[in-house]
Symmetry: C2
């Protein structure tokens, strides 16, 4: 049996001063003061603020170039150009999916992230190789990082014959979620793609997470098709729409109606809060009880040079994008990286409460909002009761090659 | 005479490997290898990337709460609400302008900023007190931070009688630039305010920097009035419009015409690249040769909880807002915090060239773009030849109380 870990003198989500005892990967006790026992491993937290483990609800572990030589970006900006560039560069650059996904996971641990939903490319060029690499990383980090894998048809399904069969195989081999992508914009066959996606979901009894970059009314059309199928197949609570730029369009009445339907069907949203695109309003989602999580999306990959895996930084970007200034609003931004993301990932034992999985991040700040606005190096990160990072550095056991 | 400072083994703006010798506050020599002399102070830069000193082209040194207890934000979001909240809170909180501006300057030095244009509130409630506090800070940091002060009528000019006279006094007492603010939206008298602003500029022979938050056609109307006066008074090259949200409006033909006129009159722009507002396109400005600089605006003040004074982070936000992904585009984002800002501030001896003022920042990254996307703690910051910060910490001499 592992020793009890006793965290002394921290502040729970910014307010109450408390001690926390952790045993067997769970929060054993949370109280104003807990007396040490002889065998305890004791950490003096010196008044640091404790957050629940951060969650990256939308990323691509197979895409990152982290730890490789700097890749100069020069590709075009259309979605199709970026897709094609990446598929080609995967051959030219040494983008080993196992190694690279491990690097991102290790980096994420150092930033306090303890759960990740990762889309992983499935295409007829690379087959299941990328999925297999990320699955190996998932197995390696299983003790300290909860990873969901979405079988993601990045290069299209209908326009690349054989992709649906590969996704079917990935879902049999352990992918958790059926992915999809711009059924109009990329596949030019919305009915075809969505029938295939929902067909796989029915067959495997697995949820769906669809990238929907399509803007304006085209996106709204695709979204309605997704909602139609959610309703027809009674898949309430099992569908996530990622990006959903169409929900940032100018026609507020149309957006309001779409959001009402999304809420009624218990569909979730994921956002990266991009500054250069229209986005769903986090406040409008909250008003309706729609769970909306944040994700880092690509981190230093062939699409974008940005990204550092920090979900507190992502919370800041959510806050800035949504013009959240009041402290209560900044906590809404943080919710997209914590409780809302946990709800979407179905992490039922999430949060700083006795009995829950002991995922926790300590930051040396005065207030919850300051954690988001200042984003200092994480003082301590605990995942499932294990210390996985300290002072912004992943502990040696969990570093990547 | 001070000793020569010899920086060995750095990379100039990301490319060429070089040594740099600094003497009497200037770059004395830049060469692939410089032989040490007996009295040299030598810094081994271990291949770090050298950037020219960063410039914050739009901030408010009198507003920050940095170093004070966390102030929970709860105010409304309209411009008028935020103005009124701040004016009141200045009395409730201990917002000493001298102390607080020094804190922000010291923080900025730690991040590699060596020049700042700061707007400072002038109003009939606080008189010249805030200006005087910031002026004291400017004097204290004169050796290592080039600070321009804009006499800024934050609470309005026409709606607060006596403000114009106070601005007149501030300009006589050492304020460098005449400020202005939303002549329609706040002052409800665009002709009145702009005549007063340009009147002060003529009287004192000083440039103008006007906050223009007004959106859409109202902002375009105000902008045209500004450009009319620029032309009539032959003030080409002396006018900056800050924010200019109207230049982010949907009517692209109208925006294009406005930008053409701005270029023809050699007017400059300043942006904070806010994610939640329309903004001028940096690329569209570059195409026309319009200088556009970036600024942090308020840093942890009564308006916003965000901000850390890091101009590399601001460059990232400019990049994200403008959807800059290619390496060359990321350097455009950096230009808004370096060369374009220097041009707007009229810093003629700016940049990593022999004879120029020795302002330089070292970062341990592989590429210029990585400086923006990773934003590591600054390895070394040199201002006018002095080492002012190391490893992200301001040296003790220049720390603030």
């Amino acid at each position: 049996m592992t020793k009890r870990l006793l965290l002394k003198n921290l502040r729970l989500m910014g307010d109450t001063s408390a001690d926390i005892a952790i045993e067997s990967g769970r929060f054993l006790q949370i109280a104003p003061s807990i007396a040490p026992q002889p065998d305890d491993i004791i950490e003096d937290c010196e008044g640091a603020l404790a957050l629940s483990g951060l969650i990256d609800g939308h990323t691509h572990l197979d895409k990152t170039l982290w730890g490789m030589d700097w890749h100069p970006h020069a590709q075009g900006k259309s979605l199709q150009q970026m897709i094609d560039t990446e598929r080609a560069l995967r051959h030219e650059l040494d983008m080993d999916a196992k190694r690279q996904s491990a690097r991102q996971v290790a980096l994420s641990l150092s930033q306090g992230t303890t759960a990740i939903r990762s889309h992983v490319d499935i295409d007829t060029d690379h087959g299941l190789r990328l999925f297999e690499g990320v699955a190996e990383t998932r197995a390696h980090y299983a003790d300290v990082m909860q990873i969901e894998i979405v079988a993601f048809p990045q290069s299209g399904m209908m326009i690349r014959e054989g992709t649906t069969e590969l996704m079917d195989q990935a879902l049999s081999d352990g992918a958790d979620i059926v992915g999809g992508l711009d059924p109009c914009g990329i596949d030019r066959d919305p009915k075809g793609q969505l029938d295939a996606v929902f067909g796989l979901a029915e067959k495997h009894g697995k949820p769906v997470d669809i990238h929907l970059h399509e803007p304006g009314e085209m996106g709204a059309f695709s979204l309605d098709l997704i909602l139609d199928r959610t309703e027809a197949l009674a898949m309430q609570g099992k569908i996530t729409v990622s990006h959903a730029f169409c929900l940032g369009m100018q026609d507020h009445a149309r957006v309001s109606d779409l959001l009402d339907r999304i809420a009624a069907l218990d569909v979730s949203l994921a956002t990266t809060a991009p500054a250069s695109r229209p986005v769903p309003s986090v406040a409008a989602c909250r008003e309706r009880g729609i769970p909306i999580c944040a994700g880092n999306d690509g981190i230093r990959d062939t699409w974008t040079p940005y990204g550092n895996a920090d979900m507190l930084e992502r919370a800041m970007l959510v806050g800035l994008r949504n013009n959240f200034r009041a402290d209560v609003e900044v906590t809404w931004a943080l919710d997209t990286c914590t409780v809302d993301a946990a709800r979407i990932m179905g992490l039922k034992d999430y949060g700083l409460e006795v009995g829950n999985r002991a995922d926790l991040v300590l930051v040396d700040v005065g207030a919850l909002s300051e954690a988001v606005t200042l984003r200092p190096a994480r003082r301590l990160v605990i995942s499932a009761g294990q210390i996985v990072a300290r002072n912004g550095q992943t502990v040696s056991k969990w570093q990547a090659a």
